[in-house]
Symmetry: C2
Subunit: 211 residues, 2 copies
DNA sequence: CTGAAGTTGTGAAAACAGTAACAATGTTAC
DNA sequence: GTAACATTGTTACTGTTTTCACAACTTCAG
């Protein structure tokens, strides 16, 4: 028995859902794979395979039911229950992320934010109560938080990651520009902005083949 | 003749270089692949393969010369000349990125920033002069900017991307949570924070095998 | 009812990324 | 000088992700 979901599929499902929600409001009832593909800027085959992964079936000649598919993706991603997130680091990036999530990603709740700067702790910033980092071992398990976002300077990222994992966190979205050494059972997604920009800058220079 | 650099290799090279710089300051002259690998949290084979891609050779029993390797990566990534970047969108995220680049990524120069909010244009924010978006077709070609960062609300992202491409931009780092439709010769890197978080949250729930 | 049109679901192939393995090589000890 | 050692450079392999291609299916027109 083997059932593994590719991480990229999960990310695309998130996108499909957002696109479907827009069509749902417009009253569209059915969409073909090539229509979804066009909106998501991927191939139709990719869409069909992604939907196969979650076991949702459309109908030939009618396509996918927007309503049922949206529901199916939602249940697969597990978002009937709003998911709790911890944010560590309330610098410029941390604040921007907090603001973004409050206004644009209502499916996630920033249950707790942490910072080691006493001028920031004890206050509500961008809609989030900011606690001192010493409170991590108390709050994370109590709230049952399993997912954390790291928006820290590189110096403290590894230490905070260790603290979070010890407190029970099982997935980290890391914006600090340093590699993190974590146990294998913790899912890690690095979003090193410098490396991303280096990549884009590199391929901006090189000519690339058109389509 | 075939010489293609995997995008992931470029991103890792960026990381290696930053790690090497730190050792360079400490006066270390040589490092083995397994030492670099350990710092970067990848396998030694991965490091050797990445360095093979840029044609740098180390010496058996002495490893890689920190100095020469740093230089070699630098020349490969093309950063002898500081690279010019345009930032579009000076909201919370845009400001955070601008601040970050000014202080932490001196190899990139945010040559120009753009926003459509008149309260922001004409001023210097986070060390960047902010121009109205109407100035894009004038400034981008004049400065020879080929790389842009999009930190915009989803509604205007596609339109700004089109404007940038028309002005000569060949690579876009997109933080807006929408897919962009671009010509095939433009390199696109999406950093959809919602999708990233959805991915991490999904795998935080599922138990994963340890190492 | 039958055929045409167009879509889905999926096995097979291709492209891509990462790992393992090992011959070749430089270094050191003696 | 030579043998032992540890590391590099590279090829072959493994595994994952994406694309291709097509049989099976549903609908509709006539």
């Amino acid at each position: 028995m083997k059932s593994e979901i590719p991480p990229n599929t999960v990310a695309r499902l998130s996108l499909y859902r957002r696109l479907l929600e827009a069509w749902l409001e417009k009253g569209t009832t059915h969409l073909y794979s090539h229509e979804i593909a066009s909106m998501a800027c991927v191939t139709p085959a990719q869409v069909r395979r992604d939907l196969m992964a979650i076991g949702y079936s459309g109908s030939p000649s009618r396509g996918y039911s927007v309503d049922a598919l949206e529901d199916s993706i939602g249940r697969f991603l597990g978002s009937d229950t709003v998911r709790k997130i911890a944010l560590v680091g309330m610098g410029n990036l941390g604040r921007a992320l907090a603001t973004y999530f409050v206004s644009r990603a209502p499916r996630f709740r920033m249950t707790a934010a942490f910072d080691n700067d006493p001028r920031k702790t004890g206050r509500v910033i961008a809609g989030c109560m900011v606690h001192p980092v010493e409170a991590i071992p108390g709050i994370i398990p109590a709230e049952g938080i399993r997912t954390a976002v790291l928006a820290l300077p590189p110096e403290s990222a590894q230490e905070m990651a260790d603290t979070l994992v010890k407190a029970g966190v099982k997935g980290i979205l890391n914006f600090a520009p340093v590699p993190l050494r974590l146990p294998g059972d913790v899912f890690l997604e690095n979003r090193d902005v410098t490396a991303s920009l280096e990549k884009v800058a590199f391929f901006s220079g090189q000519p690339r083949e058109g389509n």
